[in-house]
């Protein structure tokens, strides 16, 4: 262990320490309920991890799905991301199966009346699972096509229709449903209703069989058929006709939160890969020292940093620039799962398709993680849906860049990982100021020095060209062009690089390690240079060949320090590292 002279030992999320210890205890030891072997066995049997979820309830995890003003612990959105990440780095099925309660409940936190909020808070704190019933067969992401009806009835509403596939439709006690109360395809014709399945008369609701999915095989991805189910007026969430608007606001919060799923998957993938490349030899050399392995492993670390920078930063921008969340949330939800899919594919290339020959990790753990993670880019608004949302902001993004508009102070406050964050303000449906994080990139790059400054300058030039293209992209009413989707992907990378630069500037002084250990992530701006190098190559900018050796440096740090993170060592799970890589630390 290296001597610690920095703030690495002070956790960024002290509020999660007790939970982390509880989860660690549930993960290790013989017969542990949340052990890696148990997770793989449940997946093989396609069984819901009910015991694990009960343990999480007992540990108090559901409190983080409830606002603190209602007696819960949801204060910082980035803290919620980190909680989801802590679950996901063990098992995505568990994380997806448990955290869906936040997705199911968040509309009520945004639009419900006070009494309804208090009732729901009590139920969630007591461990009741809540589902979010948006999707219907055959129209996927097209919410305006919602065909489930909530027709007026003497005692409120009468619900008919079909919701499928819905996460936890069968297991959930409560379901927050989107249903039609007005005319077809009328945006004001949809309403949200929070129904209690257990109180519906027999024969008015039927749970549909579980979908057989490629991954998260134990998850309850099923559906509901509503056969004239009665719903009282008190089930309405917000005014009638406000359902779509509430959903679009809620999705901004959930899209940022679920980046924690990808961050956890990235942690898990790199932990397993690190374990293999450190232990195995290939043609006379440790695998980790084979040149192409070293390079590729470092590139995956850079992807992990890019993803983490975006997830954590978006979680904090949720508080400081909520008026830009329509863009920020879409960027985060499109970018993070994509970057982590790439990371996992890169690790898979290094591991080969066989089971991990380590003996300490259950065979099939990596393949499971790979299958499981594919869902993250699909649900809660697919990559396509999110990219379309960004494309609709092209004019304001181009204008914001030209005028360097936006709240630089709010960006700076989000970037400082130690700064306290206030409550989340009102969420609009479109951003009128573009994306301050990207718009303040030139100013931030001017504060860099050394090689990172050169990379940052090249990035600003590339971003300038991109915004030139954005300004010229034709705005279409129906259907975003393929070229526009490509522009959005480039914009996502600019956002990732901007997040990295801001986070670096705000935290590097506190995080730089002492002179006795010049070999960490933060030394020589190592992780920042890697993210910028990766971004430049993704934007098609030529970078000097020697620049790529920063990935080799990351690989060396990975071997010595464990999986990459921007957070403090104290935020990493001691147990998660200990069970695979303890020998090298």
């Amino acid at each position: 262990m290296t001597a610690r002279s920095s703030t690495r030992d002070v956790p960024v999320y002290p509020g999660l320490r007790r939970l982390a210890a509880g989860i660690a205890a549930a993960t290790t030891g013989d017969g542990a309920v949340f052990s890696p072997a148990a997770c793989v066995a449940l997946d093989d049997a396609e069984t819901f991890p009910a015991d694990i979820c009960r343990r999480l309830d007992a540990l108090g995890v559901p409190a983080f799905y409830v606002p603190d003003r209602l007696g819960g612990a949801w204060r910082g959105h980035d803290e919620l991301i980190h909680l989801i990440r802590m679950l996901a780095r063990r098992d995505l099925t568990v994380a997806i199966g448990h955290a869906k309660t936040f997705l199911g409940a968040v509309s009520v936190w945004l639009a419900g009346d006070p009494a309804q909020q208090r009732r729901l808070a009590r139920r969630v704190l007591a461990g009741a699972p809540v589902a979010w019933g948006l999707t219907e067969p055959d129209h996927g992401s097209d919410l305006l096509a919602t065909a489930t009806r909530a027709d007026p009835a003497p005692t409120g509403f009468r619900l008919t229709g079909c919701k499928f596939p819905v996460n936890s439709a069968t297991r959930a006690d409560l379901v927050c449903l989107l249903a039609r109360t007005g005319a077809d395809r009328d945006p004001r014709g949809l309403s949200l209703l929070l129904i209690d399945k257990g109180r519906l008369p027999d024969g008015t609701v039927r749970c549909l069989p579980r979908a057989r999915t490629v991954g998260i095989r134990g998850a309850d991805i099923s559906g509901l058929e509503l056969l004239g189910a009665p719903a009282g007026p008190e089930t309405l969430v917000g005014p009638a006709g406000s359902g779509l608007e509430t959903v679009l606001r809620a999705l901004q919060l959930t899209r940022v939160a679920v980046t924690g799923l990808s961050l956890g998957a990235a942690d898990h993938a790199l932990r397993l890969t690190r374990d293999v490349v450190l232990r195995h030899r290939w043609r006379g050399r440790p695998l980790a020292e084979v040149p192409h392995v070293r390079r590729a492993l470092g590139e995956q670390c850079a992807r992990a940093f890019a993803a983490e920078a975006v997830g954590v930063f978006a979680g904090r921008l949720t508080h400081t620039t909520p008026d830009e969340l329509p863009v920020v949330s879409a960027l985060a939800k499109a970018f993070v799962p994509m970057a982590v899919d790439e990371l996992i594919a890169g690790c898979a290339d290094l591991l080969g398709p066989g089971p991990l020959p380590t003996g300490r990790v259950p065979a099939g753990a990596f393949a499971k993680l790979e299958r499981d993670h594919r869902i993250v880019g699909i649900f809660d608004g697919s990559t396509v849906v999110n990219r379309a949302a960004v494309a609709h902001h092209f004019p304001v993004l181009a204008h914001g860049w030209r005028s360097a508009a936006g709240s630089h102070a709010a960006v700076r406050r989000a970037a400082d990982l130690r700064a306290g964050l206030g409550p989340i303000g009102a969420l609009p449906l479109t951003s009128r100021t573009g994306c301050s994080a990207v718009q303040s990139l030139p100013a931030a790059v001017a504060e860099l020095d050394g090689p990172a400054r050169d990379l940052g300058t090249a990035l600003v030039a590339a971003a300038d060209r991109l915004h030139h293209d954005l300004a010229r992209a034709p705005s279409t009413v129906r259907g975003v062009s393929a070229e526009a989707f490509d522009l959005v992907e480039r914009y996502e990378w600019c956002f990732a690089a901007a997040a990295a630069v801001h986070l670096w500037l705000a935290n590097h002084t506190a995080r730089r390690e002492g002179p006795e250990s010049a070999g960490g992530w933060w030394d020589d701006a190592r992780w920042l240079r890697a993210v910028l190098t990766l971004t430049l190559s993704r934007l098609g900018c030529p970078v000097p060949a020697a620049t790529a050796t920063v990935f080799d440096e990351l690989s060396t740090v990975l071997a010595g320090h464990g999986p990459p993170t921007l957070l403090a060592d104290a935020d990493a799970d001691a147990d998660a590292d200990a069970d695979t890589a303890g020998g090298e630390r």
Binding site: P165, V214, W282, P291, R295, G479
Partner: protein
């Protein structure tokens, strides 16, 4: 393809029919059910067995129907379009093992294996990248003479289809002193599993793989097991060279076969997009959906050009096949996986469901991914290619490019008989497949300015690779090659793919769609983008040529024709 070959593939199409045909002989439900049970699809197996399908993989001189590798590939791809696991588990899998027998076996060994395969038996070999990455010296078994004329075999071979329960096994073994870094003590064994004594062989269990589940890639462990001395295949010490020569055949054939999975992936997504309504209109009206489908079609044409041209090159240019075969499999593996990933975004949640009429997508995607990582690991292929790069400039002089072997680009042209003896791991004096770029560029000059611009960019890329290849030093040609060196090999593979597409276009002037520059421009533009060439950066050409590709694609979809170069009609 000869008329006979075309007729055989048509018969196979008729036999297997349409995956979505209600009451058809091989419905998608049967393929998915077999995958769930991790078994080879019994219905498909029965159909193929009844048709004597395995004869496609036995040389005509030995009583089979294998005269041309492009025909073998067309047949195997036809099966792969229904079920990649079935393609590898019935016919092609035996061929991957038997190729070593066809290239290195004695007359008697060839006859025995031919008889076995013709009778519907199976020969298995290690799935190379699954078992040991690109390190053939790891995980091999040992075989030593016991003085009675027998060999005693010990050790373990991983990742053998069907857990090594095949009728015969082809395994690389250490037959001399312990294998050194050059593999000098290696040779192949042809083991007749029926004659093994009980207890001599065990089959350790192996966890299921994510794809190709029906192949049951288990291991085989030998414990001082006697096999007759006649099991030795090839010369002691010649194993590594034999494996490398056989790999030229098997990699080319895999590169030609696997694109069948993309045909099915694309067909499934088209089926979905044409039936689904989104935002008040048909999903197939969305411009980004059309672009994704047209791009996948362009990818499939690229993969087929690469696979088919390489298969024919083994007949026409056998001395030059070493680099192209590995480059082809690299290109096919990388682009196939990426194309399926992009298509999955159009399919959305349906790409994640294991049943229903679109459920076949996730199955072929998993199968293709495992076939690529198990049989075509990118760095394995690139390391082979790298060895040929130092002399590239001399083999592809721009001033006097080598003559073009037109038969490799034309469908139906006669090709010389396949000559396994002429395959070599030595680099030849010319590289006709890469050099053909210069001829293609001249053909494009008078036909299409955009195509000419792209062809010119690739000629410059080839020249640049020649210069950089000449600077490679010995450490880069071995297992510890720098990533920058491997990147050169990847760029060479892309140049070969561009040359294949350009010359298929140039050699088919009277072939309506293939003779039109549209597809060639789209293909070269995509390849240039992937190679990071400036010519591939502007989105203009892609946008301009997608409508023509999309039109052709939807015409073929409506007519149930194949999406590859052959544009085959459906059965009957």
């Amino acid at each position: 393809m000869t008329p006979g070959g075309t007729a055989r593939v048509a018969e196979l199409e008729r036999l297997l029919s349409d995956l979505w045909e209600a009451g058809g002989p091989l419905p998608y439900t049967a393929v998915l059910a077999a995958d769930e049970r991790a078994e080879l699809c019994a219905e498909g197996r029965r159909l193929l067995h009844r048709a004597g399908f395995t004869a496609e993989f036995v040389p005509a001189a030995l009583g089979g129907r294998l005269a041309r590798l492009d025909e073998l590939v067309a047949a195997a791809r036809t099966v792969c379009r229904r079920d990649p696991t079935l393609a590898l588990g019935h016919g092609l899998g035996s061929f991957l093992a038997a190729a070593t027998v066809w290239t290195s076996g004695t007359a008697d060994q060839r006859r025995r294996v031919a008889a076995l395969v013709l009778a519907g038996g199976t020969v298995a070999t290690v799935c190379p990248d699954l078992a040991h990455g690109d390190d053939p010296y790891r995980g091999t078994v040992t075989a030593h003479p016991d003085g009675t004329g027998n060999l005693r075999v010990s050790g373990r071979a991983d990742a053998v289809p069907d857990g090594g329960r095949a009728d015969a096994l082809v395994l690389l073994a250490d037959v001399g002193r312990p294998a050194d870094a050059d593999g000098a003590g290696l040779a192949h064994l042809l083991v007749d599993t029926a004659t093994l004594p009980p207890g001599g062989v065990t089959r350790p269990a192996r966890p299921a793989t994510a794809g190709l589940r029906g192949l049951a890639l288990g291991g085989v462990r030998f414990r001082d097991c006697p096999v007759p001395g006649s099991a030795l295949l090839g010369t002691p010490g010649g194993g590594a060279d034999a494996a490398a020569r056989a790999a030229q055949v098997t990699r080319a054939c895999l590169a030609g076969t696997l694109p069948g999975a993309l045909d099915t992936g694309l067909r499934t997504v088209l089926r979905f997009a044409t039936r689904r309504r989104l935002y008040g209109q048909g999903m197939d009206a969305l411009p980004a959906v059309r672009a994704a489908l047209a791009d996948a079609f362009a990818d499939l044409l690229i993969l087929d050009a690469v696979g088919t041209v390489t298969a024919r090159a083994l007949h026409v240019l056998p001395e030059q096949a070493g680099a192209p075969a590995s480059a082809a499999l690299y290109t096919v593996g990388r682009r196939l996986t990426a194309a399926m990933d992009r298509l999955s975004r159009v399919l959305g949640a349906h790409s994640y469901l294991r049943d229903g009429e679109y459920g076949i997508f996730q199955k072929v995607r998993r199968d293709a991914a495992l076939a690529v990582s198990g049989y075509a690991a990118p760095t394995t292929c690139l390391r082979t290619v790298l060895r040929y790069l130092p002399g590239l400039a001399d083999r592809t002089p721009a001033g006097t490019p080598p003559p073009v072997a037109g038969q490799v680009y034309r469908d139906g042209a006669a090709v010389p008989e396949l000559s396994f003896d002429r395959l070599t791991t030595r680099a030849g004096r010319v590289d006709a497949l890469a050099g053909a770029l210069h001829h293609g560029r001249r053909a494009a000059a008078g036909a299409d300015p955009e195509l000419h611009r792209l062809a010119t960019a690739f000629c410059a890329e080839l020249a640049g690779l020649g210069r950089q290849g000449a600077r490679l030093r010995p450490p880069d040609l071995g297992p510890h090659a720098r990533p920058e060196a491997l990147a050169l090999a990847a760029r060479y593979a892309t140049v070969l793919a561009a040359s294949a597409c350009l010359n298929v276009w140039a050699h088919r002037p009277r072939d309506g769609f293939l003779g039109d520059p549209a597809w060639a421009v789209a293909a070269l533009h995509r390849l240039a983008g992937a190679a990071g060439l400036p010519a591939g950066a502007a989105p203009g050409p892609a946008a301009a040529y997608r409508p023509a590709l999309y039109r052709e694609l939807t015409d073929r979809f409506a007519g149930r024709r194949t999406f590859d170069l052959a544009d085959r009609p459906p059965a009957g």
